[in-house]
C-alpha cells in the first residue's frame, strides 16, 4: 500500500478540514499516513484546546461552512483524525524545533500526538511517498 506524509503548517480552521479529510481517505485506502505538525498548526494539537481561528478574508463565510458541515454530517477534523488513527496506520508527530521554541513537552500536547521528532525523522519517513504541505 502507499504512503502519504503531510506537513501541517497552517494554524487556521479552514486548513484543518482537508487535513482530516485527506488523512481519513488515505487511511481508508490502506495507506500509511504521517503527519508532521509544525508552525502555528501546533495550536490544533495542544492539550488545552482553544477554538482555531478563521483567516480574516474568509471570516464571513465561517458560519455558512459550520452550518453546512452540520447539515452534511461532516465530522470535525479532530474526529476524522482520531477515527483514522484508531482504524489505520496514522502517526502524528510534532516538530521538535517548535516544541523547543514554545517550551512544550509531550505532556502539553493532545494525546493524539504520537511523538516529538525532528525534521530528519520526518523526511526519512516521508521518503518515496506522497508529500503534501498544508
Amino acid at each position: 500500500m502507499g504512503k502519504l506524509s503531510i506537513i501541517m503548517f497552517s494554524g487556521t480552521m479552514d486548513k484543518f478540514i482537508p487535513l482530516g479529510v485527506l488523512s481519513s481517505a488515505a487511511s481508508a485506502l490502506g495507506d500509511e499516513v504521517n503527519i508532521f505538525v509544525t508552525g502555528f498548526a501546533l495550536l490544533g494539537f495542544m492539550k488545552e484546546k482553544k477554538p482555531l481561528p478563521f483567516p480574516d478574508e474568509f471570516k464571513d463565510m465561517a458560519p455558512a461552512l459550520e452550518e453546512g458541515m452540520k447539515r452534511t454530517n461532516t465530522k470535525s477534523w479532530y474526529d476524522m483524525l482520531k477515527e483514522a488513527k484508531e482504524s489505520g496506520n496514522v502517526k502524528i508527530y510534532v516538530c521538535s524545533l517548535m516544541a523547543s521554541i514554545f517550551n512544550l513537552s509531550k505532556n502539553d500536547l493532545d494525546p493524539i500526538v504520537d511523538d516529538i521528532v525532528g525534521a530528519t525523522t520526518f523526511l526519512t519517513q516521508a521518503e518515496n511517498g506522497m508529500v503534501l504541505f498544508i
Binding site: 481519513s24 481517505a25 481508508a28 485506502l29 482504524s87
Partner: protein
C-alpha cells in the same frame, strides 16, 4: 457462497462512505459481497478508485431515487 454485507452510509459525506466501506472490508472475506448505500455525489468515483487500489471488483453501480447502490465483490483481502 460468502456473506452479503450492507453498508448504509446514506447521509454521510466525503470521505465517510469510503471510511465505512473500509471498516466493513476489514471484517470481510474473499467471496463476500459488500453493498454500499450512499448519497455523497463523489462516491461512485471514490469507490472505483478504492476498488482498483485494493484489487476488488465493482459488480454494479445503480442509482435509485434516494441513494446510490454500489455492489463490490471481495476478491482480495
Amino acid at each position: 457462497m460468502g456473506k452479503r454485507i450492507v453498508v448504509d452510509a446514506r447521509g454521510s459525506s466525503c470521505p465517510g462512505p469510503i471510511v465505512e466501506l473500509s471498516k466493513a472490508y476489514r471484517n470481510a472475506a474473499v467471496g463476500d459481497v459488500i453493498e454500499l448505500w450512499a448519497t455523497d455525489p463523489g462516491v461512485k468515483a471514490d469507490t472505483q478508485a478504492w476498488a482498483e487500489k485494493t484489487k476488488n471488483k465493482i459488480e454494479s453501480i445503480k442509482e435509485d431515487q434516494d441513494k446510490i447502490i454500489i455492489v463490490i465483490d471481495i476478491e482480495n483481502r
